[in-house]
Subunit: 122 residues, 4 copies
C-alpha cells in the first residue's frame, strides 16, 4: 500500500510539471477540497442510510464514490503539503485531544454533543 | 511518521470504544467531513492569498488550521474505512486518470478547465 | 414578511458600516457560505432522517438550526449582491431548466439521476 | 421581482409533481445544499480575487456562476420550507444578533474575529 508521503510527492510533482503551483494557494486548495467534498455528498444525498451503507456494491455508484474520495484525498494531501502540515500526525493529535473531551464513560452510545470544536460539543 | 493504516485503526477503535458505529453511516460521515471542511474554510476565508500562504506562522491561526486539517483527515479516513475504500490508492488512480486528461503539454500554466469531473473540465 | 431586497440592503449596510467590503470578494464570500453550510450540516449530521424531520421541535437544536439557516442566507444574499445576481430570478430560471430536463413523466418517484449539473444527471 | 414566497411555492410544487418529497428529508436537502455550494466554489477556486470580482462579465463563467447561485438558492429555499423556517426572518434575526456582537466601533475595518458562531469570534 502506497504511503501518504509517496502520494504527497506524486501530487506535488503533478502540480509542478504543469506549472500549477501558482494557483495552489491555501485558500484555493481549501476551496477545491470543499468542491470535491460537495461532489462526494452529491453521490450520497438521495440515498437512504441503508442504501449508502451498500453503495460500494452498486456498479455505477461504487466507482463514482471511490473517484470522489480519491479527489478529496488529493486536495487534502496537497493542501497539507503546501501548509507544511503532517496530516496524519495532526489527525492523531486531534484524536487524542478528542479522547480527553469525549471519554468512553461520558460518551458511550451518545454522540449528541460531538459538533466538531463547538464548546457546546466538548 | 504514522501511516494511514495505523490512523484508520485508531479512528475505528475510537468509534468502537464509544459505541458510535451506529452513527457512522456513510451519509453521516460525509456530512461530518463537509462540516469540518467548512470549519477549515472559516479559518482562511477573510485572509488574502498571501496571508493564507503564511498562516502556519501565525501563533493563533496556525494551530487552529492544523487542528481542522486533523479533523478533516479523521473523518475522511473513517469514511473510507466504513466504505472499504483504500483512500491512498483511490487518490493515485484518480491522479493517473487526471494525468491523461490534463497532459503537461495541454495544461501547462493553465488550470482554467480543471473543475473536477465536469465535462467542461476534461 | 421582509423581502430579499430589504435583506440585501441590510446586509450591504452592515458590511459598509464596518468597512468590511474590502474582505467581501466573491471568493471570500463563497468560502464563508461554505463554512456556514458546514455548520448547518454539523447540527444534523448524527440525527436519523426521522430525527432531522422533527429537529425544529427540539428546544436546543431548533434555534441552532434556525440560526445557521440565517447565516447561510446572509452570505448567499451578500454574494449575490456583490456579483449583481438576482438570486430569486436565477433560481427560477434554473428551476425551469431543470423542469425541462426532469419532466414529471420521466422523473416521477425517481430522483436517482438528479446530481446537479452532471451530464449523468440530465 | 418574484418573491421568496413565490419561489418557495414553485420549488415545493416541483418536488410534489415528481413525487420527490420522500427524498427531501432535512438531512438530504442539507447535503444537496452543500453539494451545490461545492459546485459554486469550483467555478471560483482558481481565480484570483480580482478575477472573481469580474467573473460575471466572463461569457462562459458568468452564466455558470449564476446557475450555481440558482441551484444553491433552490435547495436553501426547499430546506427552509421543509423545516418551516422563514429564511429571510432568520437572517434578519441573526444579523441583529451579529450587530450586537460586532459593533461598528469594535469591528470597523477588522474582520479577524468573525468566524461564525465560534466564541473566539464573538
Amino acid at each position: 500500500m502506497s504511503s501518504i508521503a509517496e502520494l504527497t510527492a506524486r501530487v506535488r510533482a503533478f502540480a509542478q510539471e504543469r506549472n500549477w503551483e501558482q494557483f495552489h494557494t491555501p485558500k484555493n486548495l481549501a476551496m477545491a477540497l470543499a468542491g470535491e467534498v460537495g461532489e462526494l455528498l452529491a453521490e450520497l444525498q438521495w440515498l437512504t442510510p441503508e442504501q449508502s451503507a451498500a453503495v460500494m456494491q452498486d456498479e455505477e455508484l461504487g466507482p463514482r464514490v471511490r473517484a470522489e474520495i480519491g479527489d478529496v484525498t488529493i486536495y487534502l494531501v496537497r493542501l497539507a503539503d503546501v501548509l507544511g502540515v503532517d496530516l496524519v500526525q495532526a489527525a492523531i493529535d486531534k484524536l487524542e485531544d478528542s479522547g480527553r473531551r469525549y471519554t468512553v464513560e461520558a460518551a458511550y452510545g451518545s454522540i449528541a454533543k460531538v459538533r466538531g470544536d463547538h464548546p457546546g460539543g466538548s
